[in-house]
Symmetry: C2
């Protein structure tokens, strides 16, 4: 099983390799890849050898081969259907973001409880009433959900999503969601990222 | 020097303790704090003892004392002035977010190169022309900047910010910013968070 930091690095390698591939590059070495993502070449080599990829002396790694290997592990070859709950200012931005689609994540529906938002389309995605969420999810069968509701609503909405068969939730509300059983959760707290930055500014010598 | 995962945990403790403090709670034990942020009680105890805080048997930790200690280490007591560059859909959402202020981060100005956005105010923050950025930054002397510009613009904008004396950059563009010398950088890639979720769904059981 890969650790969380390793998964984070693989996803950054994947992003950079796809960008290089689009620009026509075919090979690169561990120093080049490492410098794109601020990781030492030794760690890059270790990560890629864990996937069964070894660079050739003088040529380096084949970009398409590494993309394929990482894609398999990260599930990027699969097409994931994603719903978004909470179409406020953050939800609006996420619905317009094209970066998810490029990785095989398709936003298929959004939900909100505010009647003025229901029936609108944002970034090409229709906003449905949360009252109809169970019925819609039964039809669409999405695997993943993005949560952009207020912190005091997150746990209730997550419980409903889990009961509707959602397998994973990306939570942006500033509260740590924990769901028992088989639903994976990733919590992202943007304010604590700014705090992490302040910490490293404060402790730079 | 605290490791990155430790700093991440401290910031989550800080968030939860402030929330409990607002609701009138005065003490809690390591099990209670741990379950709020999905961390084992032993790790909570180790983290807090590193800050010189020890719980009292039967009573637990004083919430105000721990908030104070974490605040000192995280620089949350300090008032940080922050500017935001790139007032697109993500920038719009971040300017309206009240979670940064609660931690002592005040958004004091925003910048964009799109003339239709210059002169508007979002979330109470005025959008200035990037042409005037150097002059504005000399006046305001902000410590931190949030970058919400397209990936191909991020490095150039960051170099300008660094030359204007910015001490830290929170980068949302999907590219790993690296700045030599004294400017701290935290890179957040939201698409790779979704990939991390897909990975844990794919590898469950
Ligand atoms: N705006 C940001 O940039 C930002 C940054 C970091 C974190 N967040 C967090 O993301 C979440 C959303 O923030 P926002 O700024 O978009 O807030 P917002 O108030 O603009 O939007 C919240 C939306 O959720 C809807 N909603 C509320 N309860 C709901 C429910 N039970 N079911 C479905 N929809 C519901 C509301 O109708 C509203 O449209 C919050 O938890 C916030 O703390 C936002
Ligand atoms: N929308 C999202 O939810 C989301 C999610 C994850 C990552 N991101 C990333 O955040 C960044 C912003 O995304 P967005 O969706 O808001 O894009 P956007 O196109 O809506 O906004 C970009 C803004 O940056 C401005 N800009 C461009 N170059 C600039 C420069 N040199 N100086 C100042 N301003 C400049 C543009 O005028 C525009 O207003 C992108 O890198 C994107 O990949 C966005």
């Amino acid at each position: 099983k890969l650790s969380r930091p390793t998964v984070g690095r693989l996803s950054l390698y994947y992003r950079e390799l796809n960008r290089l591939h689009t620009s026509g590059k075919t090979h690169l070495n561990s120093t080049q890849l490492g410098s794109l993502v601020d990781v030492s070449p030794a760690v890059v080599r270790r990560d890629l050898s864990m996937l069964g990829t070894i660079g050739q002396r003088g040529i380096g790694y084949s970009i398409t081969k590494v993309i394929e290997k990482i894609g398999l592990v990260m599930g990027s070859g699969v097409h994931w259907q994603v719903v978004l709950i909470g179409v406020g200012s953050l939800g609006n931005a996420l619905l317009r973001y094209r970066g998810f689609e490029q990785l095989g994540f398709r936003l298929v529906a959004a939900f909100d409880q505010d009647p003025t938002k229901v029936g609108t389309a944002i970034g090409g995605v229709i906003v449905h009433d949360t009252e109809l969420m169970a019925a819609r999810l039964a039809e669409l069968q999405p695997e993943l959900a993005i949560l952009a509701v207020p912190a005091d609503q997150a746990a209730t909405v997550a419980a409903t999503l889990k009961s509707c068969g959602i397998s994973g939730i990306l939570n942006f509300a500033p509260t740590t969601l924990r769901l028992p059983g088989s639903c994976a959760v990733v919590n992202v707290d943007l304010a604590s990222e700014l705090q992490r930055l302040a910490f490293s500014v404060q402790h730079r010598s």
